[in-house]
């Protein structure tokens, strides 16, 4: 054993790892190295939650998402709820109201019909609440062992209601950052079922359609600069992605970021950081500071965003730093640190 015992450098991974689907750095690498070069076009290159399309006189948004969550049914929802709400929300983040969804199913041989029925009914209910029809679909069945019960893909088309462009390019220095409610509930709800953990109270997924909150802001004439739902990779990965697009510094105040006691407790126990945990019914809003109070009042009057609060600000590019775009966080005790994008999967610590 020599004094320095570290392994030789590893080449960049030559196989797909689970972390490539985690929404963090490796997912971004996959998009940048494989998908963008192959498919490059203006609508895709915007890298927004959905593609913005101008067809005739209409301004449309289109998005697609695939759902592979296990377990299929969890506290607060099912894979079906996620499949509807997730796609409706991706459209909402473009300032678009969903007008139609498709649903593609990959079913595993042997799946209980009752489970499928339950999932489909929850999709129907979620679509009713979101007021969007599921207008076309597809079904494939794979051999037992080749799937995981049910995979669902949904694609959505929406009409852009927002008068201005909502997207990363509209973020300005001086903007405030709001979040629509407490973070981390979805990820912890899933984990609690997977790991068989029980907490003092129930942790339910926050899965919900975010359109009512976005619509209320637009109806009130609030000029929204950017919206982002805080799904895989959580708040931290979403803000890092946005900061890096324009090279801004986003600063957050840890004491202002809402996390429920149960989620905080679960994260402490499991060695996870709630700022990286997935949400399915939470989003961040960027807008001018002058609109912040009015926007918060409106958001708090809508049930899906009643816990809305301001958590940070956007500042000009930090020229001293070589890093293109950075998110910093003032900790509860008053120290500052960088809030990084998630690397790999969040893995629990040993002690």
């Amino acid at each position: 054993m020599s004094i320095l015992s570290c392994p030789l450098p590893r080449p960049a991974t030559d196989r797909i790892l689970l972390a490539h689907g985690g929404g963090g750095r490796l997912t971004n690498q996959l998009i940048e190295d494989i998908f963008l070069p192959a498919f490059s076009n203006p609508a895709l290159n915007g890298r927004h939650d959905g593609a913005l399309l101008a067809i005739g006189g209409a301004r449309l948004a289109m998005t697609t998402d695939t759902y592979v969550v296990q377990p299929l049914v969890f506290p607060g929802g099912t894979i079906g709820d996620l499949a509807v709400n997730g796609t409706v929300n991706d459209l909402a983040m473009c300032g678009a109201q969903a007008i139609a969804l498709s649903a593609g199913f990959v079913l595993e041989e042997g799946l209980a019909m009752e489970t499928l029925r339950h999932v489909v009914e929850s999709m129907r209910d979620a679509a009713l609440v979101a007021d969007v029809p599921i207008v076309t679909g597809d079904t494939k069945v794979v051999d037992k062992g080749k799937g995981d019960g049910i995979f669902i893909n949904t694609t959505g088309v929406g009409v852009i209601v927002a008068p201005n462009t909502i997207g990363p390019e509209s973020i300005r220095a001086g903007d405030v950052v709001l979040v629509s409610g407490d973070l981390g509930a979805h990820g912890i709800a899933i984990l609690s079922v997977r790991q068989g953990l029980e907490f003092e109270g129930p942790v339910c997924s926050d899965t919900a359609s975010l359109w009512p909150a976005v619509e209320a802001l637009l109806d009130a004439g609030i000029e929204i600069h950017c919206l982002r739902d805080l799904t895989r990779g959580g708040l931290s990965s979403a803000l890092n992605e946005l900061a890096s697009i324009n090279g801004f510094r986003i600063t957050l105040d840890e004491a202002l970021i809402p996390v429920s006691e149960i989620v905080r407790g679960a994260c402490e126990l499991l060695g996870l950081d709630p700022l990286y945990v997935a949400n399915e019914g939470r989003f961040a809003v960027f807008l001018s500071e002058k609109d912040a109070d009015r926007a918060l009042t409106i958001l708090r009057s809508i049930s899906v965003s009643e816990g809305a609060t301001q958590i940070g600000m956007v500042y000009d590019r930090d020229h001293a730093s070589q890093r293109p775009g950075i998110v910093t966080l003032q900790s509860r005790i008053g120290g500052n640190r960088v809030l990084d994008m998630m690397s790999g999967e969040q893995l629990p610590r040993i002690c």
């Binding site: 054993m1 500052n336 640190r337 893995l347 629990p348 610590r349 040993i350 002690c351």
Partner: protein, 376 residues
């Protein structure tokens, strides 16, 4: 949250930091031994609250970081055996061996599972009688009792399909190794509170005396760490070198005697190689001969060559507090959490990963310090 928020309270923390600034007149270098403490320090930006005269250096107390490459290679080789379910704590999975990590093995089809307790692995062994369940037992004194308990329980139940790949290490010999290094700059220790919860801290009196260093058994929250620093500074400024306990809400001088008895029954002290540091005498635990049937190395006849080492990674120096992570030319470029050259870049308790995630890069430190200065 009760029992946590009190120790992260802004006003209490600021008052404690103020007291440290008042007491400090000379430069002092203090090592926090445990990776969990490093994590809190870097995550909460605690160093910025301390006077510039105090330097915190990060110690070898990250179990993932000090597990030798050869042991990870053994875990990977075991995981790739078709009949095996390999169970491990989560952050062990990404640590690179000489060719592969356990996550790589998983992507090749190995059945690798994350567990939160060795008793979960026991449960897997009970419910999969046709499979071999191997638990990768890594860690310090903190995790040893639960691992000993799992072995003891498996023996009692005659679970012949359960075994352990043991790579346990002990804290005090590592502290002595750091102090014995001719380049040692460490003048005082924040000792690892959770390890002391099991072992107590009687062992530390002789270390403190022999090397003339103050040692304070310290907890893991920001206020704990600042109080620990204050207790050390008071001793250092007065020229004292004694052992004190800051973490009184969890640690007793004699420790947890029942846990110690179970550990002593199942494990015996052995020499062990530490990744980045080398072999330290009497610094680890292995299964006693009575429990040899549960030793995965014997059971699966694992014999692997020692791994090739990289000259570029300075993990050994980082783990001994002789260098900062950003002193490494590969830091943040060739070595990142996605492409780690060394283990400290993997575990969240590893100093390199903590620096990487929380932005303590050379070009960031100045701007973060100025942020903190302007906000107070």
């Amino acid at each position: 949250m009760k029992f946590l928020d009190e120790y992260r309270d802004y006003d209490s923390v600021q008052r404690m930091a103020q007291e440290i600034r008042r007491m400090t007149t000379r430069p002092w270098t203090i090592m926090e031994v445990c990776g969990g403490q490093t994590y809190t320090i870097v995550k909460s930006g605690l160093q910025e609250l301390l006077p510039s005269l105090i330097t915190l250096v990060h110690g070898p107390g990250c179990p993932v970081c000090v597990t030798p490459v050869a042991m990870i290679d053994r875990a990977v080789a075991t995981a790739l055996l078709p009949q095996v379910i390999l169970c491990s704590f989560g952050d062990m999975l990404r640590v690179p061996g000489s060719n592969q990590s356990l996550l790589d093995a998983k992507s090749l089809g190995a059945d690798v599972r994350i567990v939160y307790s060795p008793l979960d692995a026991l449960q897997l062994a009970r419910s999969n009688p046709g499979r071999e369940v191997v638990f990768f037992a890594v860690g310090f004194e903190t995790t040893a009792p639960a691992n000993a308990m799992a072995v003891w329980q498996a023996t009692r139940e005659q679970l012949s399909n359960f075994s352990m790949l043991v790579s346990h290490v002990l804290v005090p010999p590592a502290m002595e190794a750091v102090l014995a290094s001719p380049d040692c700059q460490v003048q005082a220790f924040l000792a690892a509170g959770h390890a002391c919860m099991v072992t107590g801290y009687e062992e530390y009196f002789s270390i403190s005396q022999e090397f003339g260093v103050p040692i304070v058994v310290t907890g893991f929250e920001p206020l704990d760490l600042l109080e620990g620093v204050l207790m050390l500074v008071v001793q250092l400024e007065r020229g004292h070198a004694g052992v004190e306990n800051q973490y009184t809400r969890a640690v007793q001088k004699v420790g947890n005697l029942k846990a110690q008895a179970r550990v002593a029954e199942v494990f015996k002290v052995t020499d062990r190689a530490w990744r980045g540091i080398g072999e330290i005498p009497s610094s680890g635990l292995r299964l006693r001969d009575t429990y040899r049937a549960m030793d995965a190395e014997t059971k699966f006849g694992l014999q692997l060559e020692d791994a090739e080492e990289s000259a570029e990674c300075i993990a050994g120096l980082v783990l001994q507090g002789l260098r900062r992570p950003y002193d490494c030319p590969a830091f943040g470029t060739r070595c990142t959490p996605d492409t780690p050259l060394g283990a400290p870049m993997v575990s969240s308790e590893g100093a390199c990963a903590a620096y990487f995630h929380f932005g303590r890069r050379k070009d960031h430190v100045d701007s973060l310090v100025s942020l903190t200065a302007t906000s107070h």
